[in-house]
């Protein structure tokens, strides 16, 4: 899924991390010219990353994209309207759990994947050493949004194809192709790593309280920022600057 699609889609960023941080954390710069007037701004860096279930700001992601390594390109087909959100009930169309229903608990738009809770899982052995056999954990494999799953119609709990349509109020909604019922986007989609709902967010020590943020203190005034601050601090400037030329 491309960036423009991400901006227009209703998919929320669960990690709640700023875009700048996500870009910065995965950056691998191999060589860079000094950022001076004597050099052109040239950078040699990793352009293609292998996205997996490990998110791009984690150490595991870096482990899978170590500097200097190349992996075969994965062709991800463009999805215009992203229709699977966290908390959606979906039906699995392939694999050993074919026909089962499950709730989407993670969305990975870079690969057109979703992870459905308790479906399409396998055992994984971790931490095995010579002496220690390791422990076995259950982990869910991702499912492809265009081939492996479809949404469940809430009216009859049967899998259905969907279509994006507009309501009379102009809101974009998902509509079941079979029954014509609207499939609402679950509230879980708005959850983030930091809060369940926006109102339930606990303000931390360094956060400015919401009431203070919303307070309007701006007074229009015929002065620049600097002039206003100087007046505030009682700084008087009476010198006249010498004539200068801009070129």
């Amino acid at each position: 899924m491309r960036l423009t699609q991400f901006l227009t889609s209703k998919l929320k960023n669960f990690s709640n991390l700023p875009k700048e941080y996500i870009e910065r954390s995965k950056k691998q710069v191999y060589w860079q010219t000094p950022r001076e007037a004597t050099h052109l701004p040239r950078t040699v860096e990793r352009k293609r990353f292998r996205y997996t279930t490990n998110r791009s700001w984690t150490g595991q992601f870096r482990q899978q994209n170590l500097p200097g390594t190349m992996r075969r390109k994965v062709f991800v087909e463009p999805v215009e309207d992203w229709s699977f959100f966290r908390g959606d009930r979906v039906e699995v169309l392939v694999g050993k759990d074919k026909g089962k229903h499950g709730i989407v608990n993670q969305v990975i738009p870079e690969r057109n994947w979703v992870i459905v809770e308790g479906v399409n899982w396998h055992y994984r052995r971790v931490g095995a050493e010579k002496e220690f056999p390791g422990i076995i954990i259950k982990s869910e494999a991702p499912l492809h949004v265009t081939k492996d799953i479809r949404l469940v119609d809430p009216s009859d709990l049967q899998g259905t194809e969907i279509e994006w349509r507009y309501t009379e109020e102009g809101e974009k909604v998902r509509v079941s192709m079979r029954s014509g019922r609207i499939i609402p986007i679950p509230e879980t989609n708005n959850q983030t790593h930091d809060y369940k709902t926006q109102n339930a967010y606990i303000e931390r020590e360094k956060d400015t309280p919401a009431a203070v943020v919303g307070e309007i203190t701006f007074q229009p005034k015929l002065a620049t920022f600097e002039m206003d601050i100087m007046e505030e601090m009682g700084i008087k400037e009476e010198r006249t600057p010498a004539k200068s030329y801009w070129y």
Partner: protein, 225 residues
């Protein structure tokens, strides 16, 4: 907004470090960055105060990051640096907007540092940011000598020819790459919606690629009898 924050009194040098209770944490939870709309409703005085709060926070975070790297520790929640940076950029934008409005009203100019497009000695166009000078331009012989912005001659011509070839190659390669991408998508998904591909790859002739050999997958095509 100094009165808003509960600033704890600590020795001056220790203000460069985070609170000790955060030192061994894996995650320090904080809110999001200031948005433009929230900063636009704040007075100049408050913006001025907020700038220094953010600056102190940035100093603290960068010190902590450096110290954590030094001591081989994990720096908790590094996205805090980006949040502060976004806030500071937004604040600067708001201040600039206000100053611009004042200058446009009073003088009819933006009051920004003037810049103009110039062609340098290599024949490449770029922006030149003007500087403030004591002497007018025609008297400033030193400046005139330093800015010999004429170009021409065989060497520049040859350079430009090769430079443009390089640009053309980059363009050609990117076009080939997107063409290849379309073919590979079609090979993997034979029933893919072509209108989506046409919208996503406007510089590729999708209808022509449908019949390409590379688009066909390694399977027997289904034929309706």
């Amino acid at each position: 907004m100094r009165e808003i924050h509960s600033s704890f009194v600590r020795p001056v040098l220790m203000q460069f470090f985070d609170e000790p209770k955060h030192w061994n944490e894996n995650e320090v939870k904080v809110g999001r960055a200031w948005r433009l709309d929230e900063l636009r409703i704040k007075s100049n005085k408050e913006l001025h105060q907020l700038w220094f709060i953010l600056l102190k926070e940035r100093n603290m975070l960068m010190t902590m990051e450096h110290e954590c790297n030094d001591k081989m520790e994990i720096f908790p929640s590094p996205e805090r640096i980006d949040k502060v940076k976004i806030s500071m950029e937004n604040l600067e934008t708001v201040v600039r907007e206000r100053n611009k409005a004042y200058h446009l009203l009073e003088t009819g100019e933006t009051g920004e540092r003037p810049r103009r497009e110039v062609t340098n000695a290599f024949g490449l166009r770029g922006y030149y940011k003007s500087c403030e000078h004591v002497l007018p331009a025609f008297m400033n012989t030193k400046w005139i000598k330093s800015r010999q912005l004429t170009h021409g001659g065989r060497a520049v011509h040859k350079f430009l020819l090769k430079y443009r070839e390089k640009l053309y190659n980059a363009k050609r390669k990117s076009k080939n790459r997107s063409r290849n991408e379309v073919m590979m998508i079609l090979r993997r998904n034979p029933n893919f919606d072509l209108s989506v591909l046409r919208r996503q790859f406007p510089d590729v002739d999708v209808d022509k690629l449908v019949n390409e050999d590379k688009t066909r997958g390694h399977y027997v095509p289904k034929v309706d009898v």
